[in-house]
């Protein structure tokens, strides 16, 4: 074989190494180009299932276990369930506790300590309440000194999950 023959052999080998695998993949998939290019249905289904579990937050994810609020401050303990397959870190939970009748801000609250909740597990979040300056007077004059069962307003839960920072507003719920 001369130089010219070698040149053509190498050219053909070069082309075959690119075209051959493409044809093989096409033939293995029974001539279905889309099936050869795209991931399998099983793989796509598994990803879809994981995505669903990620955002599958039902109504009973957060339940109140304990609560008190007075002119000296207060505390609430919430049980939070992580329904996803991934650990979740609650960085903060802030907002206002308002009088449900007059929407008057009675106290400002924040999470006492950040907390990590494992996949499918529950954790207790402790919220510390700090009364607003006019809350005592409002309770005295509008509620005859009895602290009403407040509702939360402008509540924002900041959490970290899968490297994502998420801020979720939780409005008009009971404390």
């Amino acid at each position: 074989m001369g130089e010219r023959g070698l040149k053509w052999v190498l050219r053909l080998v070069g082309v075959f190494l690119y075209v051959g695998p493409l044809l093989a993949a096409f033939l293995v998939q029974g001539g279905d180009l889309l099936a050869a290019v795209l991931p399998s249905e099983q793989q796509m289904d598994r990803v879809a299932q994981k995505m669903d579990s990620l955002f599958n937050f039902s109504d009973n994810v957060m339940e109140r276990e304990n609560y008190f609020l007075s002119e000296n401050g207060g505390e609430a303990v919430l049980r939070l369930t992580n329904p996803s397959e991934y650990p979740m870190v609650i960085e903060n939970f802030t907002g206002y506790a308002v009088c449900p009748e007059h929407r008057y801000p009675l106290a400002w609250f924040q999470l006492k300590d950040r907390m990590e909740i494992g996949p499918g597990q529950s954790g207790r979040l402790t919220l510390s309440f700090y009364p607003t300056p006019g809350s005592g007077a409002h309770v005295l004059f509008a509620h005859l000194g009895f602290w009403p069962e407040p509702e939360v307003e402008n509540a924002v839960m900041k959490l970290r999950m899968l490297g994502m920072e998420i801020a979720a507003r939780i409005d008009h719920g009971g404390t």
């Binding site: 070069g14 493409l22 293995v28 899968l162 994502m164």
Partner: protein
């Protein structure tokens, strides 16, 4: 300059070409801990929420590229070890430019993909209820995807980077060019 008995650039490039397909990814990208992409002309890994996605066509094609580079490296080595044989220059020419083209192809692919994603995806999401803002860096860098919907805001960091293997591949590509030039000069008698 004394006569060269071997083509040193070709020897170095050929040896590295035999290793290059087995060293790992050339480029990485991640979106938080949700999406991870690792890419090289020989292999790829796309993982969403820990689940790997694969394409048979890509698997087969990249296997062919791997074979092609290993064969090119072996022939480049042979052509560089015996530069005065009649087949030497042909073998060097077969292997010398392969890695350079792969480096150029990968860079073009990444630039094209970033351009398409930055332009096409926002227009596709334009009518949806969630606002998604992102700007994918070209080739490497850090950015973030910001999603805001009713009652929720999320931010996921995005990191793109070349690995040291990419820079090694670029060096192998440059060595391949030098090897080809040297082989040409040896053939014409200017060096060997």
């Amino acid at each position: 300059m004394g006569a060269l008995k071997v083509n040193p650039a070709g020897l170095a490039a050929g040896a590295l070409m035999l290793l290059l397909p087995f060293l790992g990814p050339w480029w990485r990208a991640s979106l938080g801990e949700m999406v991870e992409v690792q890419l090289s002309p020989f292999t790829y890994r796309v993982s969403i929420l820990g689940e790997s996605l694969s394409s048979r066509l890509a698997d087969y094609l990249l296997f062919g590229v791997r074979l092609s580079v290993v064969l090119g490296g072996a022939l480049l080595l042979a052509g560089s070890l015996f530069p005065n044989r009649w087949w030497s220059r042909r073998l060097v020419r077969f292997g010398a430019m392969k890695v350079l083209w792969l480096v150029v192809s990968l860079v073009c692919l990444l630039v094209l993909a970033a351009a398409v994603l930055n332009r096409v995806v926002p227009s596709m999401l334009g009518e949806k209820s969630a606002n998604v803002h992102f700007s994918i860096p070209y080739l490497s860098g850090s950015s973030a995807v910001e999603i805001s919907a009713e009652g929720m805001e999320a931010r996921a960091p995005m990191d793109l980077s070349f690995t040291w293997i990419f820079w090694l591949a670029a060096a192998v590509g440059a060595l391949g060019v030098i090897a080809r030039v040297v082989a040409g000069r040896m053939k014409s008698g200017k060096l060997g």
